[in-house]
Symmetry: C2
Subunit: 490 residues, 2 copies
C-alpha cells in the first residue's frame, strides 16, 4: 500500500505533496522513513488496530520537534506521537494518516537529583533504563508497568500508566512534578515545577497526563523518585475459588494493610503461562501474589503476616513466602511472563487487547473477576482476569480465533457487556492502558456529561486538530470498524 492511499485517511486529509522532503529538511535524510515496511510497522501498536501513516519522523532535538509541529500545524497534517508503541488501545495508530513522531531518539536522562528526590528525563527514555540509572543512587521510579522493558516515560505519562507497585507508590500521575511540552503550534512550554508540592494555579501538567498525545508533545519530564526499600518480601497464595482471591484483595486494602505488590492471576492465565513456558504453576482457580517492602524487617514481616492471615481466612493454601531476591524473581516469573504467554493458551487462538483493562472499587473485585468469565462464556470467547488488583486495576484479554468473523462479533458484545458492568458499579473504563480507539465507545458513555468540556479543552489547545486526531471523544463509535484490524477475518 502506498502512503496516502489508505481508505480511511484518504477521506479525511489529502496527503501533502513533498511531505517526506520537507521533513528531511528539518531532521535530515536518515530520520525520515516512508518505505512500506516501516509504514506497516508503525501503523500498529499493541492493539488490534492498524492504519498506515504517511511518514515516520524521528527527531533528535526538541527544536526539531518544534519545527515539525510548526510545519504540521501550518499544513493541517496529523501528528501521532509514539513512544514504544506498547499501547494496547490504538493510541499510536494513525487513524487519519499523517506523521508518526517517533520519540525514541530523545532518550537522555538529563538530571538525577536524589537530594531533591526527582529525575529529569527526555520523553523517549525507557522505564527500565531509567531504573537502572537510578539504582546506584539507591532510588527507583516506582510505577513499574508490565511493559517497562520497552515503554518510554513520555508514553507512560501520556497514558497515565501504572503497574505492580502502584498499589503503594501510585500511578504516573502521582509521580509527575513538571514537564516541557511542545504545543500544536510548535511553542515550547514549561509546566509544573520541580517541587514536591505546588499550588500555583491550573495544574496543566496533570492535564497532559492521560491526554494520549492529543494536547501536546511531551518532550521532557520531571518525575518524583523514591528510595529503594531495604527489604522486600514476596509471597504467593493458591485459591480454589476465584471469588475468594477477590475477597482477599478487598479485605487486605480495607484493613489498612500496605502491600507493595498485590496481583491476581486466574486459571486461564495460569494455564497460559504453564503452556507457554512450563513453569509448573499450580493448576488452581487463582493465584495471588503479595509483597511488602520497607526499611525495617519487622514492619515488612507485619504486613506480610496480616496479608497471609486474611488470605487464609478466605481458604488460601500453599502459601510460599520469601525475602530472597532470586526466589522472589522465580515466584513472580509467571506473572511477568503472562502477557506474552496468553496467545499460547489454546491452539489457533490469539490474545487480543480488548477490554484489556478497567478499574473498579475494591469491594467489587471478586464480582468483577467472576463477571469476566460469565461474559466470556456467553459470547463464546475466552477471557482471563488478572492484574494489579491492589490498586483497583483489573486486566483481561479476549482469546479467540481471529480468523472467524463471528468471534469478532462475540468480542464486540463481550467488550460492551464488560464496560456496562464496570459503569454500573462506579468503575472506570481504563485503569492504566488508556482509551485510544478500542475503549473509546465505552469511555464516551462513561464520560458523556464531560465530553463537551473535553472537546472544548482539545479545541482550545489544538485548534487545527493535528494532534492524534480521531481519538478519545473524536474516535469512531464502533471500535470494530474504526480501522483495519491486524488480523484477517473471513
Amino acid at each position: 500500500m502506498t502512503p496516502g492511499n489508505h481508505p480511511i485517511f484518504r477521506k479525511v486529509i489529502p496527503m501533502k505533496e513533498g511531505l517526506v522532503q520537507d521533513l528531511q529538511e528539518i531532521v535530515g535524510e536518515d530520520a525520515v522513513r516512508d518505505d512500506p515496511a516501516d509504514l506497516y510497522v508503525y501503523g500498529s501498536d499493541s492493539s488490534v488496530h492498524c492504519a498506515l501513516p504517511w511518514a515516520i519522523v524521528r527527531p533528535g532535538t526538541v527544536e526539531e520537534v518544534q519545527e515539525i509541529l510548526r510545519y504540521a500545524n501550518s499544513n493541517g497534517i496529523p501528528v501521532v506521537t509514539r513512544g514504544a508503541g506498547s499501547g494496547m488501545s490504538g493510541q499510536a495508530v494513525p487513524i487519519q494518516g499523517g506523521i508518526i513522531l517517533d520519540m525514541k531518539r530523545l532518550n537522555k536522562i538529563l538530571e538525577i537529583s536524589p537530594e531533591n528526590t526527582y529525575v529529569r528525563v527526555q520523553a523517549g527514555v525507557v522505564d527500565d533504563d531509567l531504573n537502572r540509572a537510578l539504582k546506584p543512587y539507591g532510588f527507583m521510579y516506582p510505577p513499574a508497568p508490565a511493559s517497562s522493558r520497552i515503554a518510554t516515560i513520555g508514553g507512560e505519562i501520556a497514558n497515565n500508566a501504572s503497574g505492580t507497585r502502584s498499589v503503594k507508590y501510585g500511578a504516573t500521575r502521582d509521580c509527575v512534578l513538571g514537564m516541557k511540552v511542545v504545543m500544536a503550534d510548535g511553542s515550547l512550554v514549561n509546566l509544573g515545577s520541580t517541587t514536591r508540592v505546588e499550588a500555583s494555579g491550573y495544574q496543566v501538567d496533570r492535564l497532559m497526563v492521560g491526554s494520549e498525545g492529543t494536547l501536546g508533545v511531551i518532550v521532557e519530564a520531571t518525575m518524583k523518585i523514591v528510595p529503594i526499600p531495604k527489604y522486600r518480601c514476596m509471597g504467593v497464595a493458591c485459591f480454589n475459588e476465584l471469588e475468594e482471591a477477590g475477597d482477599t484483595i478487598s479485605e487486605i486494602i480495607a484493613s489498612g494493610t500496605q502491600p507493595s505488590v498485590l496481583e491476581l492471576m486466574d486459571n486461564v492465565a495460569i494455564t497460559a503461562v504453564n503452556t507457554a513456558i512450563d513453569l509448573g504453576l499450580p493448576d488452581v482457580e487463582a493465584l495471588l501474589f503479595i509483597e511488602a517492602d520497607g526499611n525495617v524487617k519487622e514492619a515488612v514481616d507485619y504486613e506480610i503476616e496480616r496479608m497471609k492471615e486474611i488470605a487464609e481466612k478466605y481458604n488460601a493454601f500453599g502459601i510460599d513466602i520469601s525475602y530472597d531476591a532470586e526466589k522472589r524473581t522465580k515466584l513472580f516469573k509467571g506473572r511477568k511472563k503472562l502477557f506474552a504467554s496468553l496467545s499460547r493458551y489454546k491452539e489457533g487462538y490469539s490474545c487480543t487487547s480488548l477490554a484489556d483493562d478497567m478499574a473498579v472499587p475494591y469491594s467489587r473485585m471478586a464480582e468483577m473477576a467472576r463477571k469476566i468469565h460469565d461474559i466470556a462464556d456467553r459470547n463464546d470467547v475466552i477471557m482471563t482476569a488478572y492484574g494489579h488488583c491492589g490498586s483497583g486495576c483489573v486486566h483481561t484479554k479476549i482469546l479467540m480465533d481471529p480468523t472467524r468473523k463471528e468471534q469478532w462479533e462475540g468480542a464486540r458484545n463481550a467488550v460492551r457487556e464488560i464496560y456496562e458492568y464496570v459503569r454500573s458499579v462506579g468503575g472506570t473504563t481504563s485503569a492504566e492502558h488508556g482509551i485510544g480507539l478500542s475503549k473509546a465507545p465505552a469511555w464516551k458513555k462513561e464520560k458523556q456529561d464531560s465530553l463537551e468540556i473535553i472537546g472544548a479543552i482539545k479545541k482550545a489547545l489544538d485548534p487545527n486538530n493535528i494532534l492524534n486526531p480521531g481519538k478519545l471523544q473524536d474516535a469512531p463509535d464502533d471500535w470494530l470498524t474504526a480501522t483495519d484490524l491486524r488480523y484477517k477475518a473471513e
Copy 2:
C-alpha cells in the same frame, strides 16, 4: 458603601437591577444577604485585599447552585465561590463585584467507604468535621492544612491545599479521585471516578484542583482516605543556626527517611508564640518538629532514630521525643498556634499574608530560610521562615506597621525579591496557599510561557468570564493597588 458603588467593580460590570430579588427567588429570602455589614465581611478573606460583593447567596442544594450559575451566566454577573474564606492570597475577594457563592450549607458527608478507601462529601464539609467522622472507622483524610478547623474540602481542592502530613501522604491533588462540578453555564458534570487508579482520558478533575474557582463550582468530591496509623512518635529539636535546621530537612529527605511531619519554626515564629501564649519555647534560632508514624513500633523508632541522627550531625540539641498523645499535642502546640500568634510579635505590627508561601527544591531549604531574613532586613520589614518544609513548602509572613505607607512599599519590594529568588532556584510561587491576587504578579512571571494555554482553557470552560474573574492570569500586575487594602495606610 452601597453595593454596586465600589470604584473597582463599577468600572467593570454595572450591577444588575433586582439582583437580590432574583436570587431570593432561587434560594429563598433568608439565603441571600446584601446588608453592608455582611458585604463587608464577605469582601475580605485572610489576605490583605478587600472589595465588596453585590450580594451573598447561600445555596442549600446542587440544583440551586446550577440555577444561580445559569442566572449569572445569562446576565454576565461575576460569581466568586467561597468556602471558609481562609485563603491567604485574595482568592475569594470579589475584585469585580458580583455574587459571593457561600458553599457552607452544602456540608453533608454523603458516603464513607472504608472498604473502598474513599469518602464522598459535599464541598462545604469542614476538614476537621470530616476527620472526626472518619475516626470511628479508623481512617483519616490526610492533608491537614493549618486551617483545617474551618477550611472546607471544596476550598482545599480549589487551592490544592496541603499541610503537616503532606510530606508523607501528599497534597490535596494526590487525594482527589473524582468530583461533581457545576460549570459556568449551570450544567452539572461528573469528573474522575471512585477508583484508586484511572487512565480514562483527560484528568479534568485534576485540572479543577488549584483552579481557584475560575473553571467551575465544585459541589461534591470523592477523596482517598487512609488508615490511621497505630503509632505516632513526635519530637522537637533545637538549632542555633537556621541553616543547620534547613540542612537537616534536606538530608532527612535525601536519605530516604520517611517523616509524617517535618516542620520548621524560626526565631521570629518562636518569639511570636512565646509572646502571644507564653508557651516557654526555647529561645533558639530554629525549632524542627519531626514525626514518624506506622503500624509497627520498630519501624517508627527506626525513622525517628534516623531523623535524630541527622539532626545531631547538624548540631541539634535539646531533642525531646514522645509517643504519648498528650505530650505530642503539647510539643506541637507552638506550631499549631503560630499563625494566630504572629500579629503579637511586635507592638503595632500586623501579620500580613504576603509572600506567605512558596515551594523550593529540598536542597535550597537552608538558603531559602536565610534569604527570607536578608530580604526582610533590606526592606525594613520583619519576616519569618516556617512551614511544612518536609514537603518542600516554606511559609513566611510580612510583619509590619500597616499604617505606614513606606512599609507597604517595603513589602512590595520584599515580595518581589522573594519570588525572584524562588524562580531562580526552580521553585514555585505557591506551595499550598494558591495565587489569588497577591501572588499573581510573581506567578505570571513564573508561568509566562503557559499563560496563553491557561487563558485558552479558561475561555473554553467559562466563555463569559463569570467565574471568579480578574484572578490568576487576569489579575492586576501590582497586588498593592489591585484592590482596597484591609488596612488604612497614610
